[in-house]
Symmetry: C2
Subunit: 236 residues, 2 copies
Amino acid sequence: MTNRSIPRCRDINWLGQADCKLCAMRKSLLFARLPEDALDDLMPVDKMILGAKAILYREGESAHHLYSIRTGLVKLVQLAPNGMPRIVRFLKAGDVAGLEALSNGRFRHTAEAILPTDVCRIPAENLFQINRRHSELYQELLQRWMQTLDRADEVITQLSTGTAQGRVSRFLLHTLSEPDGNTCVALTRDDLGALLSLTVETVSRTVAEFKRQGLLEEKEGLFRFDRAGLAASATL
Amino acid sequence: MTNRSIPRCRDINWLGQADCKLCAMRKSLLFARLPEDALDDLMPVDKMILGAKAILYREGESAHHLYSIRTGLVKLVQLAPNGMPRIVRFLKAGDVAGLEALSNGRFRHTAEAILPTDVCRIPAENLFQINRRHSELYQELLQRWMQTLDRADEVITQLSTGTAQGRVSRFLLHTLSEPDGNTCVALTRDDLGALLSLTVETVSRTVAEFKRQGLLEEKEGLFRFDRAGLAASATL
DNA sequence: CGGAGTCTTGACTCCAATCAACAGCGGTGG
DNA sequence: CCACCGCTGTTGATTGGAGTCAAGACTCCG
């Protein structure tokens, strides 16, 4: 009944080939604006399901596919100079992982599932070919570029600056929650640390303190928090 | 004779309209791959020269133009939650400032010249129109996207993590210097702090310490440094 | 010459890192 | 079934590094 019933394996399971024309989510994905017949050129697209902690690809590997995320949550990780992993971005349903496959053939991050995650694996070469004929796809790619950059800049200005309290507050308020929602996925202290550039202990203390103050509770894999209350710490 | 002879004003001077077909730098700019006749559609392009500290545009302003940088150095700044400015990226010759004008009409950063800087100002609408007809431009834009994202991620993992010594070393070694060069523009302590998320005092102390150790000298607006010596601090 | 802006240095404080111990939970294997 | 182990999270004591506050040096410029 609890979140413990969700799959916890680290596997990647292949669910067969997808037919993009029949895809229920198509309109919210990268290919939203493509005419239906162009979708044939994407094939073969493989549907895969990742357990939590499954690794989609690793930094430095040569990149032949990109991944359209249907459900779930993925973290993009790079190694910091001291050897510790640093989370640079999250990818949610509708996002695309591994777009660097379109240009230079090497992944820049390690992509690891945080929640069980469904993805479609698309051969980079096919997308590349479609690009030649359909500028709609380019428009969509550019759109995503702006979005992605914004998120990267947000990590710089909002999540790598200020006190531990401030960073955790801002994470809760902006990063994974709906604009006016008061819940978000309960990350491990480890992941929070890797995102906010703090140690596990500091994150644990900060989260615990918020709980004591009644600003935050954690239940069934979710953080539920008090927006107004946290806003006070968010400028620290 | 020294760098003091360079202009130090904060003005923006309009130098007249450009004829892109005659531009000596065209091949290294955004329009490298465009056929010559497409360049007509860019017009009118204004050539401008900025003194150090001149502001090209401000965060939140509505964005009708973008700027191709011919020479100089520009910082992109966002306000951190505590109200202090944070530098998220530098733009050098060949880079484009204000690409967000292509999509959502508001600048996401304040762009300020650090050195005297030449730019060409291009109406966003014109570029947008060219995009419809020439996918070469899209390719170039995508290429730049990857580059820009890489730089943003580098600020996250390399410049916002670790000790003050580590951050300053890594800035010197990677951010504005040639891959194997041993010089880079001598930023103010203020700008270094805004980039590395450190206070002016901490930057000053760190730079001073590197100088005492003979790892770094500052002359005529340049840092000259010892790559091998700094590499030791770069993992801190 | 005086003033503004930048840089440096010192003394002190404070926040987060570090080191260490332990609790809780789930999974595993004897 | 239960003992053990690994993983995650918590908490405490201590340390260290950067922030803060304050004063003064230096440079450029009017």
